[in-house]
């Protein structure tokens, strides 16, 4: 179907194309010759910050996770009041993330896929301890182009105890009793330090045991406090409760909308 001359022409065009592409690559790669346009392009900010805060508390046989549902643009313009920042990965693992929402979605998908594969390989669901290490590793794989996220992983561990793992953007992992991330982290943590850690509570005051009910009410108070004083937190509390041997419960509670 192709005539002989046709083939020669193809060869010529192919060659031409290859040279053209090569030239284009060089232009793109050679830093000294970069146009202002290209330099600017390198400085383009691939991140945006959608605000909001999340928090997790673990107890003897439970873990609760909460986040607000506000999504903002540049901290001021509210995009939606129903954003989901908590992902229930399976009966024992809950992920909650603040930061750049695109990365949040990506991270969630990565974990979901791994969990999917784990279920096929081992014929059971992954435990939160394993998932915690998995998350840490995967955050670190993006060491040089990090996820712009503060992740918290919570759930019920292999021994039926509540677990909370806290991360920095590149996967520094630590198991804690309670943790928070996002815009209101510096407000929530001191409150919990006082009420749960009791570290800033003066001597002589009652140090009640952390029950599920107490944890839930502390969580509500934390977010109410944050919504009062932090602009990108508000609208609703998305509360997820995991108790050993019970199905995961999800609740939504109203917050300030201003």
């Amino acid at each position: 179907m192709t005539s002989f001359t046709g083939i020669t022409a193809v060869a010529n065009a192919t060659n031409e194309m290859a040279m053209f592409k090569q030239a284009m690559k060089e232009v793109a790669a050679h830093p000294e010759w970069m146009s202002s346009r290209q330099i600017e392009r390198q400085r383009w900010n691939p991140y945006s910050m959608e605000g909001g805060s999340t928090c997790a508390i673990s107890g003897e046989n439970f873990a609760i996770v909460a986040s607000d549902t506000r999504m903002t643009q540049n901290d001021i313009n509210i995009l939606t009041r129903d954003a989901e920042k908590i992902q229930i990965l399976n009966d024992n693992i809950i992920l909650t993330t603040s930061g750049f929402y695109g990365d949040v979605l990506q991270l969630k998908k990565v974990l979901q896929s791994r969990l999917h594969k784990y279920r096929f390989d081992y014929r059971s669901d992954m435990s939160v301890d394993l998932c915690a290490e998995l998350l840490s590793r995967n955050l670190y794989y993006r060491r040089f182009f990090p996820y712009y996220t503060g992740a918290i992983l919570a759930g019920i561990d292999e021994h039926g105890k509540g677990a909370v793992f806290s991360y920095d953007p590149i996967g520094c992992i630590e198991r804690l009793g309670y943790s928070a991330s996002g815009a209101a982290e510096p407000m929530i943590i001191p409150f919990l330090d006082c009420q749960i850690g009791h570290v800033t509570l003066s001597e002589g005051y009652e140090r009640p045991e952390l029950t599920l009910d107490r944890a839930i009410s502390l969580m509500k108070d934390s977010f109410r406090g944050a919504a009062e004083r932090e602009i990108s937190t508000g609208d609703k509390i998305h509360l997820v409760i995991a108790e050993a041997g019970k199905p995961v419960v999800v609740k939504f509670l109203p917050l300030r909308e201003d």
């Binding site: 192709t2 065009a13 232009v27 010759w33 970069m34 146009s35 202002s36 346009r37």
Partner: protein, 242 residues
Amino acid sequence: MDTMRDEKRKAIPAIGFYPQEEISTGTTLIAMEYNGGVVVGTDSRTSAGSFITSRATNKITPITDNMVVCRSGSAADTQAIADIAKYHIDVYTMTENKPVTIYRSSQIFRQFLYNYREQLSASVLVAGWDEELGGQVYAIPIGGFVSRQRSTASGSGSTFVQGFLDSQWRPNLTLEECKAIVKQAVGLATFRDGSSGGVVRLAVINKAGSQFELFRPDKPGFPFVQTPTPHLSFPPHIEQVL
């Protein structure tokens, strides 16, 4: 208009790099459909900064018998693109044994202009005639957005005549009417735009193929722009000539 971005590159003497102003065809391109095909018209000025590097450039590049492309932006970029696209179109024509449609050709141009839009500074008008859709004009400004237009202007001079074209176009223009409008539009643009100037080149593309025409300022037929008689510019008490 097509040199929207202000290039400010620093000289790097160590490697012998001294930024130069790119040679670009700050241009006026006009294209318009009439009832049997299309008419395109361009000026002929190529400039580097304020220096005119060529005063009689031909900005209408024939691609096939029934298709031309009008180029604006960086001269080097547009020439390279036109050459490569022509290669592709020629080979397709040969291997498929029938002419490539104007639409598909415009898509071939889009491939380059869109995919390399960060590196290139080029915008073109693809104008032609084929069996399927008759006369067609596809405008591809910087960025690689292709749209079929009935009447369009591109290049730095386009800003000055867009209104004129809007007021002149109507359905079913005859060839002569269409040529007159296009010629006049180029004339008007060169009159006001410093980056456009020189001669007016027209091309008519229809079933019969492409016919090219040249209108020189020193020969009859060159568009004439009537301006109002001016008033005196110095204060009236000063002796001066109109």
